[in-house]
């Protein structure tokens, strides 16, 4: 199915392909830079000219997971020799690991990462579950003022987070919910719920009513029909919505910055807080960033079909 084209057109076509490849590389360069910095020796992170080829090392990750302090005098040779490889790497960087008794003190990073997981997974589950039910309701039943309600639901997502954060902070402080997982989960659920209703309503509208009607005629109750017929049909939509809700909750910064401090703090406000003492250690930031991006990158690849559909669909529905 190729039309006759002029030679000039064929040349433009080839230029376009080359341009696409170049632009793609440019877009990926920052991500490559993050990933590569996570494996660089500290000195190479800020070397001039920038280092592209180097011997990768995992020292940044060792640093990421440990509490360290700067050496004030060189470490004694016998102590150094007795140290395991990872501790030597830290000694080499002019630091030593903090210990309580004999056990190495861990940095808060694993905790924060876990917080991110708890909050993102729970809020995603709630938002998608509630959103799916509500979307089904809007899609199948007659509801007075349906469009106004839908617009209301959507409008709750248009506000800058800080606008919502002020009253939420005041309310949370009365009930003691600042810096709790639950507080953050509620915020993220509310934030994602409207999005989830909209996205899911689009998918629900696409599922023919006849499917359930056939099931109802066959003697299913509506609930059975919903769970056995509609939900399986809506899998793609649910997957797309879940991935998006997860990514939004996973990456959220403003609420987490304002509402959490220690117990429930997630990784996004925490990672920028690890700039290092005295001198910025970009390799550790990169290592933390790299690990934090990994789940999302894996998600993106594993579910790219759903993602593409979700992005465009969610937008077009509006």
């Amino acid at each position: 199915m190729a039309a006759v084209t002029s030679p000039a057109r064929r040349v433009t076509n080839r230029i376009a392909i080359v341009a696409v490849l170049i632009i793609t590389l440019i877009f990926l360069a920052p991500i490559y830079w993050i990933a590569s910095t996570a494996f660089k020796p500290r000195a190479l992170a800020t070397s001039v000219p920038p280092t592209v080829l180097f011997q990768p090392e995992v020292t940044p990750f060792v640093k990421l997971f440990t509490k360290r302090v700067q050496l004030r005098k060189p470490v004694e040779p016998e102590v150094y020799d007795a140290a395991p490889w990872w501790e030597k790497a830290i000694y080499d960087g002019g630091e030593r690991v903090l210990r309580v008794g004999d056990s190495v003190q861990l940095s808060p990073y694993p905790d924060r990462f876990l917080n991110s997981l708890i909050v993102a997974v729970t809020s995603t589950f709630l938002a998608v579950a509630m959103g799916t039910l509500t979307a089904y309701g809007f899609s199948r039943f007659r509801i007075a003022g349906e469009n106004d309600l839908l617009f209301f639901i959507l409008s709750t997502r248009m506000l800058p987070p800080v606008v919502v954060a002020i009253p939420m902070f005041l309310m949370y402080r009365v009930v003691g919910m600042t810096d709790t997982h639950l507080g953050l989960i509620i915020l993220y659920t509310a934030f994602n719920l409207s999005f989830s209703v909209w996205l899911m309503k689009g998918f629900m509208d696409e599922i023919p009513k006849e499917y359930e009607e056939a099931a109802l005629v066959d003697g299913y109750t509506r609930m059975q029909a919903f769970f056995k017929i509609v939900l399986p049909e809506a899998t793609t939509g649910i997957a797309a919505t879940a991935v998006f809700s997860f990514i939004i909750a996973w990456n959220e910064y403003a609420f987490a910055l304002i509402m959490t401090n220690r117990r429930a703090q997630t990784a996004p406000p925490f990672i920028p807080a690890q700039v290092g003492s005295g001198l910025t250690d970009w390799t550790v930031i990169a290592a933390g960033t790299f690990l934090f991006l990994l789940p999302v990158a894996i998600f993106t690849f594993a579910l790219r079909g759903h993602l593409l559909r979700g992005v465009t669909f969610g937008a077009i529905r509006k």
Binding site: K67, P108, D179, L182, A273, V275, L279, T280
Partner: protein, 432 residues
């Protein structure tokens, strides 16, 4: 029916996530992200070894240290049992009910005599009461490149140009001359690195150092009079000097704080660099600073009138009144002020405020910068400590930053504007 289930579910989830609050054998101290916090962690690990009470030092970058702390205070949160808070927080911390009154504790242990006078005045006292135990003394100082200064060729060229010997600057005029002398953009060498970050108190502290050495003040701390003081001729000259120094900084120096100023030395960018003493361990660490052996330190130089002061850094440690573990925290503080602990604190790298330790030869010679630190601690001055200090800081940043970095208007306009802003703020809070 459904609603009940729903709330039950939420409550269940809440329980699942918040069980960790109860255990009393854990103490959390909140501080900013810098080396002293790591030294403190190391110190308190010994407390854990002694008592079994786990003590964790939580940190956050300087840029949002204040925000985080006060968000937690104002939420009446119990995430932190103690906080190593900035000196200017005392007013807000005490009048806001965030800090536990430590006056009895202070008097009982005669801390006013044990700790250095400036640290007691600035880190602990507000409105006649004590709210904190001086923990980390600090002041603004300078690092410089000894190898550049001592290069005979440079010395000769400098003498020829300025008519006096190149050496550690004695006053701001010399500071300026040396900065100008080493400012060679074509060679990627620059004169000086100063604080310019306008997000918290970084630039404010840099300017204060100049203002205080020029013999100026921020205002009358007892009457809240600012007009004529903050915009005095001395202050105008000091701010103009600060702006002039900015002209000799490396490129992209419009929003920098301690890391960048340290990098100015490690990356061979600047001849001299302003920083708080607590940030100097990185410069003394050969693994981080290839020029460690060639880095020297000096205290903030004199102003034209001969006055010599430095902006105060450092913090006292306070107990947060919302803490569930106040008793345990008291016990910790009793441990912390013990002489042997203070000595250990100094040995680990902390800047003790204990007079006995400070004055010891061992302390003053422990690092290349401890001597300069020791001198500085007797000439420090500080910012306002009133509860509304954050608004005062914002105004200062808003007025002075556009002048120093953006080159807008004149120093006099900026300071007149600042005087008006501060006046209005004090009026708003009924202080005058």
């Amino acid at each position: 029916m459904l609603k009940k289930k729903w709330t039950a579910l939420l409550a269940g989830a809440a329980m699942a996530f918040t069980v960790n609050a109860a255990a009393a054998t854990e103490l959390t101290i909140f501080w900013a992200e810098w080396d002293p916090a790591n030294y403190l962690q190391e110190l308190v690990n010994e407390y854990t070894a002694e008592t079994g009470v786990t003590v964790t030092v939580e940190t956050t970058p300087w840029s949002d240290f204040q925000t985080k702390a006060f968000t937690e205070f104002n939420a009446k949160g119990d995430a932190y049992d103690m906080v190593v808070g900035d000196s200017q927080w005392l007013g807000a911390g005490s009048t806001g009910g965030h800090y536990v009154d430590l006056t009895d504790f202070f008097n009982e242990h005669k801390l006013a005599e044990v700790m250095a006078p400036a640290t007691v005045k600035y880190y602990a006292e507000y409105d006649g009461k004590y709210w904190a135990i001086p923990a980390e003394g600090d002041a603004a100082g300078w690092a410089y490149r000894k190898d550049w200064f001592e290069d005979p060729k440079e010395m000769e060229a400098f003498k020829a140009k300025y008519g006096y010997d190149l050496g550690v600057p004695e006053d701001y005029k010399q500071l300026r001359d040396i900065a100008e002398f080493f400012y060679r953009p074509d060679d990627k060498k620059y004169g000086i690195a100063i604080y310019t970050d306008n997000s918290y108190d970084a630039m404010a502290m840099g300017i204060e150092s100049a203002v205080f050495s020029y013999g100026g003040d921020l205002g009358d701390y007892s009457t809240y009079k600012v007009d004529g003081i903050i915009n005095s001729p001395e202050n105008i000259a000091a701010v103009e000097m600060y702006k002039e120094l900015y002209g000799f900084t490396p490129p992209n120096w419009g929003k920098v704080f301690f890391q960048e100023d340290n990098q100015a030395i490690t990356e061979n960018l600047a001849a001299m660099s302003m920083n708080f003493f607590a940030f100097f361990p990185a410069l003394d660490n050969p693994a981080l600073n290839p020029n460690a052996a060639n880095t020297g330190y000096f205290a903030n130089p004199k102003g034209p009138s001969g006055a010599q002061h430095a902006a105060l850094g450092g913090q006292g440690i306070s107990i947060v009144s919302y803490s569930q573990n106040k008793e345990e925290a008291m016990k910790f503080l009793e441990w912390f002020i013990r002489d042997d602990v203070q000595q250990k604190w100094a040995d680990l790298g902390g800047y003790t405020c204990s007079q006995a330790v400070l004055k010891s030869e061992a302390f003053r010679n422990a690092t290349p910068y401890n001597e300069a630190f020791y001198q500085s601690m007797f000439m420090v001055k500080d910012f306002w400590a009133v509860p509304e200090y954050a608004e005062l800081l914002t105004a200062m940043n808003n007025r002075l930053y556009p002048y120093v970095v953006g080159g807008e208007g004149t120093a006099k306009e900026a300071l007149d504007g600042l005087a008006a802003d501060w006046n209005a703020t004090f009026k708003k809070y009924g202080r005058m």
